[in-house]
């Protein structure tokens, strides 16, 4: 499905006017001593710089129409995504590589499938934004899943070691935790997918409506993206857990951080 391109022109003055809402946030923070004014300021500046920069990059990629540039951009997003998620999964030993591989596989598998199924054409205009959404959501999902896995392994080290003592492999010993971690990683998107259209309008749909697209097209594109994201986050969370769970153990199925005797 290809939605006819609609375009609107947004001036810098209009962007600046939207900062009035940011001022309300800053005033509220100051009034209630939430101490967020500095963070709000940093967030505004960073979003301005980062989005402007990526805007130029995307413009370049669209103009060049180069698959290599798309691949390079997605690779950079995967690397930064894995670095960011690694900090959130601090209790998982060597979490970077499981995260890197899981984000890369989630991106490759979902983008490959949507092209193979004829949902989107293999052009930068589709691959770049969809790739960004897939990697961003996959990063959050994998990070939440690994964070939960790390906490559970730490808290349940006694039970895990007692299971190892019965001759279980390390994979078998953490199987009950894998279920919970996978659920943690996916539940946010599953819940938001359930309530979409009722409690909130998702971003893509809002963007298309603002850009003047037909509401039916906006809804259908949004549905495609939600389904694509569900697939992507499940791949990312499951792969990250599957790869990372080994890192808690030695090759001899011993906990690297055993419970205190």
């Amino acid at each position: 499905m290809i939605v006819a391109a609609s375009s609107i022109h947004v001036t810098l003055g209009e962007v600046a006017a939207a900062l009035a809402l940011v001022a309300i946030a800053a005033i509220a923070s100051r009034a209630w001593h939430a101490d967020l004014e500095e963070d709000i300021g940093i967030a505004v500046v960073r979003s301005l710089i980062q989005l402007t920069a990526i805007g130029y990059v995307i413009t370049l990629i669209f103009d060049e129409d180069s698959a290599l540039l798309v691949l390079a951009l997605i690779t950079v997003m995967v690397v930064f995504g894995a670095f960011t998620a690694r900090h959130r999964a601090s209790q998982v030993p060597n979490a970077f590589w499981p995260l890197f591989v899981s984000l890369a596989v989630a991106a490759a598998a979902t983008l490959g499938l949507v092209i193979a199924l004829g949902i989107f054409p293999a052009t930068p205009r589709y691959l770049v934004p969809v790739g960004g959404m897939v990697i961003g959501n996959s990063m959050t999902s994998a990070a939440v899943a690994l964070n939960r896995l790390g906490e559970d392994v730490h808290e349940q080290a006694r039970k895990i070691e007692a299971t190892l003592a019965l001759g279980a492999t390390s994979s078998q010993a953490v199987t009950p935790l894998v279920r919970r971690s996978l659920r943690s990683g996916m539940i946010t998107l599953v819940d938001s997918t359930k309530t979409t259209g009722l409690i909130f309008f998702p971003g893509t749909m809002v963007g298309m409506l603002l850009a003047g697209a037909d509401p039916t097209d906006a809804v259908r594109l949004q549905l495609i993206l939600l389904y694509v994201l569900l697939g992507a986050v499940s791949i990312a969370a499951l792969m990250a857990i599957t790869l990372a769970r080994r890192n808690f153990f030695t090759p001899a199925h011993q906990l690297r951080e055993p419970p205190v005797p």
Partner: protein, 232 residues
């Protein structure tokens, strides 16, 4: 000889837990005694490769344990930890866990009986049992693996006197009814005397003395108990 422990050292979080420790554990009923923090539980975990020493080696029936498949070794040399750590489900689910991993047949009721529990416990929710009952389910699920050696880490430390006596009676019954060798870790010299024929006494991560229980547990009972109380 069942175990020969040769010059092992083991560090944990940068702290030396065992230092150049050598000991022997014969076939039959042995005990490792010492005060809290002396390294006896750590030593037990090295016997079935829940951990490996940084230096030295543990030899089981003439073979370095690192040459054995760790999963097979743990089924043959089964460890019952100090505190109950059962999986979610019924008592049967717990007893069945180990044998099901390898497709072995087992008799849950006889395992429960050997562990001193009424077979009627089989369908009860494991989480709703008392600590003493859970500890015996831990023993039953280890027995379900049909092990040759049982490693018991402070098997009664979490129990009141009545439950402790019951578990000790169970372990003495095991000695009489099976050919399973046992290694009991305890800080209680009297318990060692009741449950073991051979005793290794350790403190500060190294062996102080070892020998037949009759010779070892004469006048030296009191100091070890006192040390245990000081450390706890």
């Amino acid at each position: 000889m069942l175990f020969e422990i040769e010059n092992i050292s083991y560090s944990r979080s940068g702290k030396l837990a065992l230092h150049d420790l050598s000991a022997r554990l014969p076939v039959g009923a042995s005990s490792v005694v010492g005060p809290s923090g002396s390294g006896k539980s750590t030593l037990l975990r090295l016997l079935n490769r829940l951990a490996d020493p940084d230096a030295g080696r543990v030899v089981y029936e003439g073979v370095d344990v690192r040459e054995r498949d760790p999963l097979e070794l743990r089924r043959e040399v089964s460890l019952v930890p100090q505190l109950p750590a059962l999986i979610d489900g019924t008592v049967h689910d717990n007893v069945a866990y180990g044998p099901r991993l390898v497709g072995h047949s087992f008799d849950a009721r006889s395992c429960l009986e050997l562990a001193g529990l009424d077979p009627a416990f089989e369908e009860r929710d494991a989480a709703k049992l008392s600590v003493g009952e859970q500890q015996r389910v831990m023993l039953a699920r280890a027995l379900a693996l049909d092990p040759r050696v049982l490693l018991l880490d402070e098997p009664t430390s979490a129990l009141d006197r009545v439950a402790r006596d019951a578990v000790e009676t169970t372990l003495q019954g095991l000695r009489a009814r099976t050919a399973i060798s046992t290694v009991v870790v305890t800080h209680d010299m009297d318990q060692a005397r009741r449950l073991a024929d051979y005793v290794v006494r350790i403190d500060g991560g190294t062996v102080e003395a070892q020998g037949a229980a009759d010779e070892m547990l004469g006048d030296e009972t009191e100091p070890v108990i006192a040390a245990a109380e000081d450390a706890s």
